[in-house]
Point group: D2
Chain length 377, copies 4
């Protein structure tokens, strides 16, 4: 297996989505992070790239420089991730595709439909890959849901109901905070605020699981914080090509919700529910039967769900990153930085002392015994 070469545009220090891309691209070690134009402040971007292990000649100051630099190399990157502000996605994505690079673009891919259609045409012309990071669709149990629909296990979908709502922009006194404000300003965010930011994840998910496309829709938008020009809350009703009825609610003023992304699909012979905060389970009910809990990693999952289950059934989503935290602390410790939470041989020997004491106690009808290893008494 040869590692592919990977570069990123945007995702600089402190960015919200950058870490997820780096963890995601590197976890399987199929990509090597070799190039980047990570920050609109060229120097900061180069310095950060260096700290992330990128060679100086591939730590670029901006995307144009990166495009020129990579085009000129024989060992050019196999994939470029575009994680810049939304308004720049189109130009960057198009330029890299036309230069023969594969691209993973953050959502929204473009600001206008026309731009989007142009990207599709460029893809057709160049034969390059342009993926969009609708990453929720890659959870194993979402794949299971889609496969079940395709296999007819809930019959024709009648109804899909999805919510993607949070409350992180619900504080009017924080509305002028630049990190929040731009999202509701047409000059920076385009025609839509919350629906373009979160709603399209939910809309993609509805299409993805139902294996169908939205045909018509009716929307109700609200700016519940009056100073906002763009909507911070939206309800969109839709119909899919196959007649499925859709209902989508998205909000950024739902105070108390951290990340309420959930989807329910109801078909002729069954229904199910998946929620991003409980991603290991698909809650399925056959019509007239009892609700069943389908677990990530259980036997008999559809192939695509099985393929993307990364760890065994007993290990919930999130487990590998807890292991990653152990490795981070180890890397720090090897570099000489003390990490007092790192479990050590002392912990290991204490465990064995507890095991042997428990065995002896159980044999002695539960007698209380000293459980400390002798070196720690």
């Amino acid at each position: 297996m040869t590692k592919l070469k990977w570069g990123m545009i945007g995702g600089g220090e402190g960015s919200q989505i950058g870490p997820a891309h780096r963890l995601g691209a590197q976890a399987d070690a199929r990509f090597e992070f070799v190039a980047g134009a990570l920050d609109h402040r060229a120097d900061e971007g180069r310095a950060y790239a260096g700290r992330l292990g990128i060679a100086a000649d591939r730590a670029y100051g901006d995307w144009q420089e990166m495009l020129a630099g990579e085009k000129a190399r024989r060992d050019r990157v196999d994939l470029v991730t575009v994680a810049t502000p939304n308004a720049t996605h189109f130009e960057i994505t198009k330029s890299f595709l036309e230069a023969g690079f594969n691209v993973l673009c953050e959502k929204p891919m473009t600001m206008t439909v026309e731009e989007g259609e142009e990207i599709v045409k460029v893809v057709e012309k160049t034969g390059k890959i342009c993926a969009v990071n609708y990453c929720y669709s890659a959870y194993p149990m979402v794949r299971q849901a889609r496969a079940m629909v395709r296999a007819g296990e809930i019959g024709k979908p009648r109804l899909v109901v999805t919510n993607f709502s949070h409350g992180h922009h619900g504080d009017a006194t924080d509305a002028d905070n630049p990190r929040v404000r731009w999202r509701y300003d047409p000059a920076m965010a385009g025609v839509s605020g919350q629906f373009a930011d979160c709603g399209i994840h939910a809309l993609h998910m509805a299409s993805f699981i139902c294996d169908d496309q939205v045909e018509t829709l009716s929307a109700d938008f609200a700016s519940t914080i009056p100073s906002r020009v763009l909507e911070d809350d939206a309800m969109v009703n839709f119909r899919m090509s196959g007649g499925t009825v859709g209902r989508l609610w998205t909000s950024s003023v739902a105070i108390g919700r951290q990340h309420g992304f959930d989807i329910q699909v109801f078909g002729e012979t069954g229904g199910f529910r998946w929620a991003s905060e409980q991603p290991n389970q698909l809650i399925y009910t056959p019509v007239g039967g009892r609700t069943q809990i389908i677990e990530k990693g259980e036997g008999g999952l559809h192939a695509d769900a099985q393929r993307l289950s990364r760890v065994a059934i007993a290990h919930p989503e999130g487990f590998p990153l807890a292991v990653a935290n152990i490795y981070c602390d180890l890397a720090d410790a090897i570099a000489g930085e003390t990490r007092d939470g790192l479990p050590t041989a002392s912990d290991g020997v204490r465990s064995m002392a507890a095991v042997h004491t428990a065995v002896a106690s159980a044999k002695a009808q539960g007698a209380w015994m000293d459980a400390r290893p002798s070196i720690f008494k």
Copy 2:
């Protein structure tokens, strides 16, 4: 940042814990996977190492060969992970430590207390790092719990109650399956079955969060499937040095539980609960007050919790691996393998069409409109 070099012993193809180590070690790209003796079947191990990108001269047939090979190199590995059958942990760990390598050993570190004490002494003598993979302690909200105890935020802990129970060995008709049977056979598993396998995670967690050590204990073991010599269910009561009362239940016959690892700590002025299946939240109650939900990534977390929060508050544990799934599919696609679930530019343009249609519909009082991009009509 120079990447550290990493090797693994065990964790071959189909192993349960191997993938979590590879994802964990590689996600942050601070380690490069350069050496391995991955399987007790030497040829399979070498072939698998090759498929994982390890050079042929560092794809070893067994750990002795790896020890000799790495010792002889100038660019020897900085860290060795030991993920072999339990009975071999001691010898391998000790040998690598004595040869000057840092080690991350899977639990249980050893089979006997004496072996464990010997490892501690070797660590003292060599100054090398020997960590044990009690990885649950590395979840951000577990670190938050520990920090809250240390800061006195729940007062002195009075009581800790922890469960680590599953039902994956509850089928008596499957008890002779070799993958299950060895765990209850003293010849292979040593003195303890379920307590040594899962219970010690919970016991470590209790010590970790309470920042205290177990002093005495009383145990009740049961082999609820009679053919088993070792226990498949255990209750251990304990007392910590500071007087904290402990209660630990572990079981492998709790049919229906996938991974019931949870811990509750009750102190003089508050209590909290954390569960591995809901890892983003620490449920905290101050005495006489309302229960509060502390969220991973919220403002004001203790430093160690903040440091290990890998993604922003809106993104639950598990999110980066969903992104990793996207990157896996991309790597396949770049290699020419079709991945029909991968979101593409077509999805991107459909989203933009939906956004613009929704904006228009909302302006037109919710009028129903065609939401398809023209290229897909």
Copy 3:
């Protein structure tokens, strides 16, 4: 305290809502059930009334007979509950009000707006009470929510989102079952199916908690089972007088949902969520703060919530009816019918033996002891 006299029209044997009215009216013993026209089949209604303890002269064959009979008495009923098919609510309610009776009418109160307005006028004219059974509004934590809104504790409500969806009519093969079919037949159900049946509970709740009224709305109805004339799924967007945005989803084809009635209200300074399946808790989040769980019966609830908390904090909703089940079995047992689940003195003495044995065992460091009372050894 003099008991009030109570009568019911409808609610015959096997009715869905009848038992809830009898349990509700009698639980506090402030009403005595003395009269009824319980079934459209006069003889069955009279017989059932007799079995429920109603004297023969007040076991009426139909509501007209009951109206005449009760008007003629000096000890006439103080309250009449109308739990008949929807289309008859108007005529019965109006007739009883005009005759000077107080009425509790099941929802929907009438079939048309004009009828409803007429009822309002009759109430104004007669001074009698006409209540409608929007009983969800009487849960203590719903009252707490309303009181919090009134007290300004979440600021002005910006957004209310409510769902009342179930899947009990999701089986197309059962759609012709008369118990289901009439709900979607305009001849029997009027202009609306699911929205009139369940949606109005949710709409009332939104008004109730926000202490405001719906002013305008926009609706999307669907008959997802094509043979249905009336809607089995509806989305209604609305605006309240004070500007609050509302979103209401109701469905009867949401297979797998038993009773998904929940409501979320998001205001300027906080939000909360209540769900009928978890009625003891109001989940509240102040803007910028942590989510808190407000528990039924906790100290410091608003007066109306405290007044309607029926049992102490440790006893969840539903507890008194478990006690009622004990009393039912006792009544059967006194009547000579064996009820083998009824806890008896044997259970009582076994408990005491366990208590004393546990005390002795704990004193003896956990020694195992026989826990049986001597009479059962």
Copy 4:
């Protein structure tokens, strides 16, 4: 159906358990509350009885007076509930049984095993009923669990794990509060604190569902608040006659738990879990299969569960008491006391206006329309 006559000893104004007995005894109107000695302060008890509708000649000053008074009547009570302080249960229960009354005694039935055995003998001699209020066993889904065990649906129970823990006595600064203190004072509470108070509910439940009896046990008690003589936390391991392993944790210092009563039973071919805070569901997993949610009121429940399901499937436990709250407010309103939360005809007509407007809007493709009835415009 003749109503039975019922009297209560204890349960005076402000008592914790009294309201649950009155609601429970009266909800089905099979008992009429006709006599009581409700308070150890004779005058307060008589006055409160009067307010509850008891005739003056049956409002007794103490239990001895009640015993004498009821014995002398021809229309004596059919059932006496004993809800007095624990230490008096034995004498009162025995006296009433010997005088020929049926008794429902609060738990614990007696203070000693000898007293308990004496009650059993009195029951045998007199043929009267003596029930103990282990009311959790009367939830429909607990009955379902027991019936499933009896029918062999989970095979022989191997393991039962139950918790009944709360945090209401976790505040050391409140430990001298007389309402709390007596529970940990041997002079008033006897030999055991928390285990006798809550633990025996859980122990009874384990026996009840497993249809078996505790044979031996081993206990670990702790007084985590040092001033307490009796235990506020206990772990009891036990074995049943049929070999089932049992584990029971009970605590009153589990800060943050309101009412953590749950039970899990794991058998040879399946397991299940029930929790008092989610009483409508029994979570069941067949060995090797998916977890299923069994709902109160679903088709095909065992007979005893079906019999005690009080309301239809869509109505959760607690629903009838919400209806009871409506009736309470109605009784107040009839008595002239304003109850502003009571839904009225105005609410009824607003609902109908919303229904008709929604129908019209849906027909007009979601056009926004005024939803107010004309009388409220």
